[in-house]
Amino acid sequence: MALLIEQALNGVQLGFTLFLLAAGLTLIFGIMGVINLAHGSLFMIGAYAAALTAAKTGSFLIAFPVGLVCAAIAGMVIEFLVVRRLYARDHLDQVLATFGLILFFNQMTIILFGRQPLFVEIPSWLEGSIPIVAGVQYPLYRFVIILVGLLTAVGLYFLIARTRIGMLIRAGATNRDMVRALGVDIKLLYTIVFGLGAMLAGLAGIMTGPISAVQVGMGEHVLILTFVVIIIGGVGSIKGAFAGALIVGVVDTMMRAFLPALMRHLMASGSEADALAGGISAMGVYLLMAIVLLIKPKGLLPAHG
């Protein structure tokens, strides 16, 4: 039982990490109509910037904002140099141009920091476990990731629903000319939104650093998982991203945790059971995506219009 709760929480934690990525990606897609493959690179940049800063200064509190700022700046530079020229293009051009960016960022990271993964320590004040329910301990750091994700979700909701910039974002998505008529510099607005999305990706990267290896290619794996989240949740919908992320996080984690034992129970040969379970759990979320697609081709909570 304790294991079940712990694994469920691990799934929620992965879910919130995916939500940070999916929210940024879907925000950018919903408003600018751009599909940005290099979103995973921004995740990586956030993780590297924080990891290197933490290694130099020994302080997570310094590393954290540095990671955010680096990811946001990288995002805005990408927007200014490349993505800005892709708003009027079809999605295929957007995919290919940002694919070129991934090649560049990955190789640049290898040149600068090598192929060896960086390991980041959990800051001492976030080490240890806390009791969740009677008899169940959960690592504090992972719990903090859940909290940060939750706070970000709430913050995003208020930003979009309640603030002036949120109003412009909503208006900009449906009517560029109207926003322009209000005297708003839409180019600047887009750059800011892109920077915001990049910062969310960077945040996910920073938080992921201490619980997994920071290495080249980390962005792409999680990017494709983020696509699955968006397809399940519904393209362009933040609510959908939230629901999809939690579903994918929990399903993926639970299958990896419990399928091998279940299969060993059912099958005679232990090694074959492990191999099969490994294969199925690696494919699990994709199968889930296929099922959702069969029932609701537009995703669980599609954006309106």
Partner: protein, 342 residues
Amino acid sequence: MADIQNTVHKVAPAKPKNVRSHLLIAQLIVLLAVLPYLANLFGQPALVSLATRIIILAIAAASLNLIMGYAGLASFGHAAWYGLGGYVVGILYRHSVTGDPLFGLPIGSDQMLITVPAAILIAGLFAAIFGSLSLRTSGVQFIMITLAFAQMIFFFFVALKAYGGDDGLIIRRRNALPGLDTRDAMVWYWICLGVAILWYALLSRIVASRFGRILVGVRQSERRMAAMGVRTYPYKLVAFVIAGMGGGLAGALMANHMRFVSPDMLHWTQSGEFMFMVILGGAGTLLGPAFGAAVLIGLETVLAAWTEHWQVILGPILVLAILFTRGGLSGLVRLVRGGRDD
């Protein structure tokens, strides 16, 4: 109704253009056929292997072009069919060596006439399954979902430890073909060239056929196709399956060429490269993908000879190509094209 009769034009249009492009294609085939001799003449025998690789990739790219260039369906998962084709060859070879049964059947072969058709069929079968789901979406969702499904197949083979998992499968001997020595680099080159010519000829027929006209219409306006009374889904699905079969064919040849298969063949960057070959050469043109494959692989080879970090240069080149040329070499290719608008 009075003016029906006074216009009976019987002039067949564009004959000279057809003759010219047929001539160019004939010249190209002759040039490709003698290429191994030229390579040896200039003391570059390694060129034969590189050219074989380009030809095989050109088969895969042309298949992707059928759906992406002609029908406008941007699949980001083409490497799945390519990799599946490769694995069919690898797995059949493994069983022909060990003699172990597969699914309880005494399956296993190192005969090209068996392995390659098997690869084509298996790839087509899976393309039918995943295509039928993916084609329920369109636009950016279609891009994402084809990528995600390909990734699923990638993870399947990574987890498939029985066939090497991450490390892949080594094929010690190239599949045999009766009467031909496939282990000879030049013979192997000609085999691949012959297969490629056949595949391109087949695609050129398909593209010009009634079926092909429907695909071209789908790209331009789904709404108009519906107003014509055409339900487009089955046509898109069949095109998707044909593209998958072509990918499987290319993968089967590549597995033989490298004598090795691994999940790398299924990697999403491979799908991205196929898309670039189509776009660089000119989407929706018959020979475009072949030129695109040659340009991309040529560029990679040149850059890789220069620096191990060639991707740091290739990436920006590709970005610039997309931003500023809108389809790269397609202007050139249009001269010799056989497709798009008659």
